[in-house]
Amino acid sequence: MRARGDGRVLPVAIILLAILAIWYVGTYAMNAPFQRDLDRRGGVTRSSTDFFIATMTQPKPTLPAPHQVATNVFENTFLRKITSNRSLVYHAGVTLASTLLGFAIGTALGILIAVGIVHFVSLDRSLMPWLIASQTIPILALAPMIIVVLAAVNLTGLLPKALISTYLSFFPVAVGMVKGLRSPDLINLDLMRTYHASGAQTFWKLRLPASVPFLFASMKVAIAASLVGAIVGELPTGAVAGIGAKLLAGSYYSQTIDMFAALIAGSVVALLLVTAVDLASRVVQRRMGARTA
């Protein structure tokens, strides 16, 4: 659902500009009290322009100005070595690795479970209600425990975080895939029956291709959930590396600019991931004859 040329670009651009303007006003409003306090104590008197500029350039502002965040993101993305602990690319890469690993395992697991549910009535009747119910549960609350518990058995690093992502991405894929494998019309199933097609033939030639759009739709949800899982999974590891760690470190030291930069980095990663899934979906579906919308 990206903005396309059909009269959406201008409204989106204007609303984004409006958000930027509000952000600047907010920056002034939120940073002004502290600046005033600071100036009073330091006995500094400033002109109003000077005061305005001061609110925009605090080192640890309550709300950093957009350009402060932009500068931070730019410096930590392009001007640092990728191996540097301050590089956002480095942190994003750490998070990305566990996101992708977890997403891959979760998707595979989700597909397997869905195939099982569609083919075994008893699994459908006993497991499916739990799958649906589990979506209403704040699973993310498990994250810190999974990390700590796995650390207790000497499992640290990438895998525990990836497991949280697996957990979060597996549910949407399983549910979406069940829907997809069940999506063929009755007449298509009847047709296969008149051909005396085997269960395997019906699966490979009808159910699986029919489920592809559902799979991609749920993969888009799953990869976003996967990233959230990876970020939250980084919180209890003691803020070593990753976007979640960067957020936590920022909150320890009140480095608001760093926190916003980490948030931006996380958002960029999210958009890249969702766009990648979207692109893959387009390529595959075009090959499968989908209308070029």
Partner: protein, 273 residues
């Protein structure tokens, strides 16, 4: 569930009829109690016939087609297809079924849609190619074989689905209101093509329709059915010549048969719903 096929064969010929139903009935269990979709149907369809089934909705014409194709199980009576049970006939791939919707797979091109039954039935690659070419030619879609279904008009999609039903040389073509969703002009055209195709392939065709002119124009025999319970009320033989141009529909002979069908429908159907 089925009687032995031997009991059902007609007295005379060595060739068993394409379809033979004796006292056939089907009752669906629904939440509102049992519904009798078919009751006491006796009907024999010989090889090479073109039989139309006509009647108001709920008269069981589609259900009868589905029973022939082993998509539903009868609850009373017996039915045989080519002298065997519908299930055996299905296992021998005797059915080419055409639904009201084309039901083409959107992710397959036209030629791959036609290839679908061939893949399932395990035809060799060369045979597959030859059959696709032949059946697509039969329905005049050769130039469209690389297209996807949505790139074709509704009439062309339905022709592709007919090609798919023809590709594996099923003996019996079961068509459930195949042209019901198409407009009049396209429908006329396809009716004409279907007749030519029947002439060339000499298949047995069972054709469900709502339209009296369509039934009379296409068939050698018209089976009139009525609802609650679904049953056969009249079977009308058509003495029209096999070669039927579209304007045969204005001839007195045609109109006479059409009038008989209409009378049959009226007699079997009350309009106080």
């Amino acid at each position: 569930m089925h009687n032995p096929a031997s009991q059902l064969q007609p007295a005379s010929p060595a060739v068993p009829p394409a379809v033979s139903a004796r006292g056939l009935g089907l009752t669906f269990e629904t939440n509102d109690g049992p519904v009798q979709a078919l009751a006491d149907v006796d009907l024999t369809i010989n090889k090479g016939e073109f039989v139309s089934f006509i009647g108001p909705s709920g008269c069981g014409k589609t259900t009868f087609l589905r029973v022939i194709a082993d998509l539903e199980q009868p609850t009373q009576g017996a039915i045989s297809v080519n002298g065997m049970s519908p299930q055996q006939a299905r296992e021998r791939r005797a059915y080419g079924y055409v639904f009201q919707a084309a039901a083409l797979y959107p992710w397959r091109t036209i030629e791959n849609n036609v290839a679908l039954p061939l893949e399932i039935m395990g035809f060799s690659a060369a045979d597959k190619r030859a059959r696709i070419a032949r059946t697509l030619d039969l329905v005049n879609l050769t130039g469209f074989k690389k297209k996807f279904p949505w790139q074709l008009s509704g009439g062309m999609q339905q022709r592709a689905s007919i090609a798919r039903a023809l590709s594996f040389d099923a003996d019996l073509l079961l068509m459930d209101e195949p042209f019901g969703a198409l407009d009049e002009i396209v429908r006329d055209h396809l009716n004409q093509q279907l007749l030519e195709l029947w002439e060339r392939t000499s298949k047995t065709i069972c054709f469900v329709t709502h339209s009296i002119p369509e039934a009379v124009y296409l068939s050698t025999r018209i089976v009139v059915m009525s609802p609650r319970p679904g049953r056969v009320t009249d079977v009308i033989e058509s003495d029209l010549p096999r070669d039927r141009p579209l304007d045969i529909r204005e001839t007195p002979a045609f109109l006479a048969i059409a009038a008989r069908v209409r009378d049959g429908l009226r007699a079997g159907h009350s309009y106080d719903e």
